[in-house]
Amino acid sequence: MSYAAVHDDVHHDHKPTGIGRWLFSTNHKDIGTMYMVFALIMFFIGGAMAMVIRLELFQPGLQFVDPQFFNSMTTVHALVMIFGAVMPAGVGLANWMIPMMIGAPDMAFPRMNNMSFWILPFAFALLLSTFFMQGGAPAGGWTMYPPLVLQLGDGLPFLIFAVHFLGISSIMGAINIIATVFNMRAPGMTFMRLPLFVWTWIITAFLLIAAMPVLAGAVTMLLTDKYFGTAFFDAAGGGDPVLFQHVFWFFGHPEVYILVLPSFGIISQIIPTFARKPLFGYASMVYATASIAFLSFFVWAHHMFTAGMPLAGELFFMYATMAIAVPTGVKVFNWTATMWRGSMTFETPMLFSIGVLFMFTLGGFTGLMMGITPVDFQYHDTYFIVAHFHYVLVPGIVFGIIAGVYYWLPKWTGYMYDETLGKWHFWLSTISVNVLFFPMHFLGLAGMPRRIPDYNTQFTDWNQIISIGGLAFGLSQLILVWVVIKCVRGGEKATDQVWEGAHGLEFTLPSPPPFHSFTTPPKVTEAMAHS
């Protein structure tokens, strides 16, 4: 391990200046910042699309946009949020925190790190440019099922290449993270002493490397089906469109854990800090995370219960889906047990983490309901499933990322953020997110289908409440932007430890930390290992 030779400018601590600092950056903190800022911008672009959806759905009938554009909104909203907001935010946090948490000076491959970031704006330029093309933006759903997706006009190759680039970017990011953790840990930082955020990220990175290439393969098959005469999914040529669903969801279900595991890692750091107790069941957390990741490769067909499967298949995927609830239950139990009899305080990061704990679990329960094959025949493709995945994705994952931002923001900037504004942000978000997503359960059970611009009049009331909740949630997020800007500008000085109950190597560095985290490796002992 060569701490001194990580890269060229390791021996001096002054940052490069100007635009070049960002364009050519090889510094894990700068790249982490760029990922986070990019994710925030995409979060608002995707959010604007959601506002268009909710505007149209405020009343039955067609008011503002035509159905084709409406479908583009649902499709591109999902792609932007998943690949543009949630995944880059996770990678950004990994970039910022992992070297500091394991006692390394930087990531293992700083230049590859730079490249994996800069691919992202390029990929989204490709994707968003389809709005100005003949045939419009993708409108066949983010799942890109053929034959519908193949009817897209000139935008199709752009969609596919965008997915390729996103895949390449996240695979490079994942390789970098694993190589860093495997090879650059400080002396004494054994695997079972790693902070849980690092553990969840190793496992996420393995999921990325296993799942993203399969998605790349699936969309390549779409491309060759459309332009090069292959017939993977074309019944006329002996192919099978349902095959795409199998390949896509073989990627798709692990992908949901790619999204959620970093959030699990973040709250596993935060809850012990504010409960002032070590994490309950550290080892079982690691094994539970690994089992979730492993099992996630054997449940994909729960997205296809209604597509036509042999009974044995339906049963297998039903039981496998139920099985995932076991390790997930272990995790929920451990977080709760960590808080049990702790001396808890409720600063903003803790509030958001508790929000994750409650509302992710709620989304997990509706997932279990849909995992039961016979009842999924009713829930499938209704607003019930929209409620399910928004509960796991927004208060389950986005809240986790926000919790992480509040938790580490004083470390990054050297200043405390405005706690009052943070609390406002939490409460407004939590109330509005439930006004936004909870009634979707009712609509789904009453039979309102997903992905439609119009609906029967009996659904009007709930839809209006949902739209109001959506607007309130969107506006509440502006508070976060304000808090971050304010905190970067200045404020009360943060101590090195930042939080009274915080443990871990990142809290032994000054706030803000030096440009290169640990130029001399710290010695890690059992006592200072994971909080």
């Binding site: 390789i175 190589a179 993203m212 399969v214 393969g217 017939a231 006329a236 390949v247």
Partner: protein
């Protein structure tokens, strides 16, 4: 970047490439998996010879309704109808059903029919000795043709299934365009309604 990190990265890179290959391998693997486990229920039907069909036990006490459903993909300028909408057959008896296809365009077009059977559990017990779907069909401009399928329902068909639907969809075959080009009538009509 240390040599050890480079080694780790190389291994992971190979793993990623292998997973890309695995995505493609899933295409044949699904079929292999279905065959090995006997889980093939894609609604695909079996093909058997007349001699084998003749050995199927005939159940004179049971009548099964076979319904026919015909579809044409919108890109193919053909009409396609079954001469009979349903048939009542005894399991084990070889039966012939007749269909009519007509090329409404003024160019030669090659089409290909894709069959499926519902309920999917019935597909395993539905066998064909002859079918227009086994080969591509070529129709010259305006040509009308009778095509047949000869089938036998296995007498082991589960008791609870009394009706099955045999559905066909005609698509334009991939090599159809080349034929149309070399045809004397190079203008291809797209008037499907006539």
């Amino acid at each position: 970047m240390s040599a050890a990190a480079t080694r780790t990265a190389k291994k992971l890179f190979i793993f990623a490439i292998a997973m890309f290959g695995f995505g493609y391998a899933m295409v044949p693997l699904y079929n292999v998996f279905c065959d090995v486990t006997g889980l093939r229920l894609k609604g695909k039907t079996g093909e058997i010879t007349e001699t084998v069909a003749a050995t199927v036990y005939v159940d004179p006490n049971r009548l099964v309704t076979v319904a026919f459903d015909t579809n044409v993909n919108s890109a193919l300028p053909w009409r396609f109808k079954a001469q009979q909408y349903t048939m009542k057959v005894h399991p084990g008896v070889i039966t012939e059903a007749v269909f009519v296809v007509e090329n409404n365009s003024n160019a030669t077009v090659i089409g290909r029919a894709v069959p499926s059977v519902v309920p999917t559990q019935a597909a395993l017990f539905f066998n064909k000795t002859e079918c227009f779907c086994f080969t591509k069909q070529t129709l010259t401009a305006g040509e009308r043709k009778e095509i047949v399928v000869r089938f036998v329902v296995d007498s082991k068909l589960p008791k609870k299934i009394n009706t099955m639907t045999l559905s066909y969809t005609f698509y334009e075959a991939a090599d159809s365009k080349n034929v149309a080009q070399s045809d004397s009538n190079t203008v291809k009509a797209i008037d499907i309604k006539s």
